[in-house]
Symmetry: D2
Subunit: 297 residues, 4 copies
């Protein structure tokens, strides 16, 4: 069973994960380009520090080029029997491609979707894994150290073969978009109504007994505690890519996704200074009816 | 058959309608508070100017209080056998209430949805009427003067009893919201793509042979002709009430209306300086992930 | 302080609430037309059973006519200083009308949105109240007995004047529609993908550490535990009225509600045997392209 | 200038296009595997039949494999200076890949989006072309024969370099989805209301004077003429791929597309026997409230 792993990437997520793994009794050798956080100077040094036999390296760097770069380097230094865990937010199709390449060298590949954000250090991380049963089995001590306390099945799933972990995480994030937008729309409607004299208190009162209680609701209460009218924030919302992939995937599978897509589009719109589409609607109204429009300033 | 009517309200719509009616051989006595456009000084004078027997007064003033006020005054001066035509954008339920009140005095009521905007003077107006067959029959010369040339059934419908005219017009406008938003979204996507070097030309090329050709498309081409990037316009779009009623009505009838409601909500959003809902989403992301947010300026 | 109340309506909700109130030390005299559950034979008997002075009657019957009927009867037998609590799902505007009528007799009115479903007996109920501070203050022992254990503010809010309780509950239910649809869309996408070999396990693994953890998620896990492919259920979903009111209210306030409205429309569509709108789209495609359509069977 | 072209694919579209090209004075040698419609026995024979110098072959076969196969074969037999026109519904990225391959041999590539359906033979086809100005210029006699009569710019656009034609056609089809759904939703709402006694007549009356008049509206009127309640049709609607690409493209460009995506999802839903998502919502309601659900039959 695995008791010592390498961890590449000690950013916001990786740094906390190293701490939680160590608390859970897993030895961790971490690598990061930033000298103030790294345990070793190079990726090669990290691999050399691991016990020979089934070496395990968890990759926790940004999706896309950074992940691809680290995996390519690991492909050079790892050997048959070793396992790579891709714990970032890779697209599941990339997992399948990377796994096939590494399999040619006998290196195993497991993809893990990790949820929990900055709270994971204390609460534990929800984990969704894809890979062979054999690889997953070997890694269970690692997963057990990271996941929340309580029954294993409430914080960890072996969702299917390679790619399934990130596919499940992608859908998780798509759901998350929908949930956040639902609370947000409710907030706007409450805040728009003078009749409601305590919007923060209303959200707060939903925390224990109602159908809508959730961790996101708890966070909403915290946010309103600090800033009851959200006056300190701009209405500008980034999207991380996984919401987009979720909708792309639904389109490929002919699955209707009205709520999740609406939540995604609301984020796109939030980042526009002006909406070209709504300019076009204004233009049409001006053309047919002489309706009032506003000139661009 | 009716050959002389009163017309109350000589604004953007009423003024043009008077002109088209007169061209079509209908005598019109118009009343408007503005001395420069009115034919008579008072509503009473208008009623007196009409031929006795079946007097007909077409009301063409803004929906809501103005219309209610004029109809109340007419209720006092008209008598059994006369007919009121409500040609504004009243809600169909109000039509039914007004008609019931006037019916107690023997005054008929016909509601007419009028479409065509500022172009109606030349093109004719699309007309949707609600009322009794007898009243509609008597008014056909008036409708024939207003509607476009060509077969009567392609510019006029007796859609049902009182209220049906405005209900049909309400749905017409709901459809209009959806159509405009569809073109607008297509515009935004074309304009976002550098590959397309001629957005205006693309819309223009759709005018004669394609599946999407329409009058609104022709207007879109005109708008882009004047201002190819719609740079002169703000992305601020009013809604007139009928889009809202359409969605309300669909909700009452349990009819799914995803496209028309999305078009309506896009207009609401276009008028917000900042979206409270998207502030809430930003707040949630900040809470759980330490994600980048923008502070309000 | 109030220690004995009347409770009208001992159905699915009222029956459990009586039990929880009694456990919490509140004396309850319940009335219901069904002899097997009622404590007294008539509404009059219920009122007589209450301690004189500030009598309190909680009404927990279906919204609409049943509630209106009970409130009208209570209006006859209650006297100045008494308080009615409307705990059903009345529309907040009706609350305001009823409260005004009762106020003429000096009878107080408090509206309370109650959330928690069949689980409320054990977990406690989330409560949102509208009314005067004086009335709410007097009723706090009752609310404390019903709400979940823990800090009062996490299970109870005085949201504003009369109507605010039901307005808050209406928005709560609108949010609930959006949350449920978000999970449901995610479920469909996971279930559509062969790569995911354990859909139930995936939902289960989200329960403790992830961003999407919630009570509804826990219920989803229970549902999939019983029936992993939901094969025993029809895809037919009722809507209770509050989702509709939420969207109506948003339209009145010009608040965009894309997610909650999409969730509502999905329910409407779920109850249609065939979609007239999609027949119309099929008809159009057949007209312009000779595209394949299916004939009605 | 080109006066004789090869045309590969004589199906529903190609067959009519050959006829219209010939009427317009363009010599056409057509190839199709079906002997009853083809002019020549093989693709090689088609190429040989063309005048030497700048040979032009228009490909009009189903998108995907069929188109790829024909283009690969043409790549073998065409030589420097020849031009291929891809007139099917290829994805614009594939155009760019194919063009690059053919350019290595000096063969030009022009992609043309063609709209008009079965009506194009009589009305002419709306054309959107992508390619070099030189190639487009040489092909104008061909485009002029196909496009509708009237000003060239109202039936043809050179939208940009290779890929722009199909990108424009893709957006055209996305708009088409939105337009069709808007009319369809309006139809459903009118048909649901007893107040409207003449749904067909209402659509018919919109044809000449209203804001919503269009070719699609004319087709709707035709469809309702044949079958006023659309009773002969199933509510099952295919999607052709271009709607999906439009939404994919919008997601890639962060362009909100609420209406077009809603129209696409409505088609997906129309083809489901039962909605897994709505089963999940039903399951949740059953879990928390003991709400009525329907068992699968």
């Amino acid at each position: 069973m695995v008791s010592h792993i390498g961890l590449v990437g000690l950013g916001k997520m990786g740094h906390n994960m190293r701490a939680r793994l160590r608390r859970g009794g897993i030895e961790v050798t971490g690598f990061d380009p930033r000298p103030e956080v790294t345990d070793v100077a190079t990726l090669e040094a990290l691999v050399e520090a691991l016990p020979s036999g089934k070496r395990v390296v968890w990759v926790m760097v940004p999706a896309g080029e950074p992940t691809r770069g680290v995996l390519a380097e690991l492909g050079k230094v790892l050997t048959s029997g070793d396992i790579v865990i891709e714990g970032g937010n890779s697209h599941y199709v990339e997992d399948q491609e990377r796994a096939a390449e590494l399999a040619e060298k006998g290196v195993g590949y497991v993809d893990v979707g990790v949820s929990g954000g900055v709270w994971g250090l204390e609460n534990g991380y929800g984990l969704m894994a894809g890979g062979s049963s054999e690889d997953i089995e070997a890694l269970m001590p690692v997963f057990d150290a990271l996941r929340p306390e309580g029954p294993r099945a409430e914080g960890f799933v072996h969702a299917g073969p390679v790619g399934a972990g990130h596919f499940a995480k992608m859908v998780h994030n798509g759901i998350e978009y929908g949930l956040m937008q639902a609370y947000a729309e409710g907030y706007e409607l409450l805040a728009a109504k003078d009749l409601i004299t305590d919007v923060h208190g209303t959200f707060k009162a939903w925390q224990r007994g109602t159908v809508v209680r959730s961790w996101l609701l708890d966070l909403m209460v915290r946010a309103l505690e600090d800033d009851p009218k959200l006056a300190k924030l701009d209405d500008w919302v980034e999207d991380s890519g996984e919401g987009r992939w979720t909708v792309d995937e639904a389109i490929a599978a002919a699955v209707p996704l009205p709520v999740i897509s609406a939540a995604l589009f609301a984020r796109f719109a939030s980042r526009q200074e002006a909406s070209p589409a709504m300019k076009a609607v204004a233009a049409l109204r001006q053309q047919f009816g002489g309706h009032a429009v506003k000139s661009a300033q």
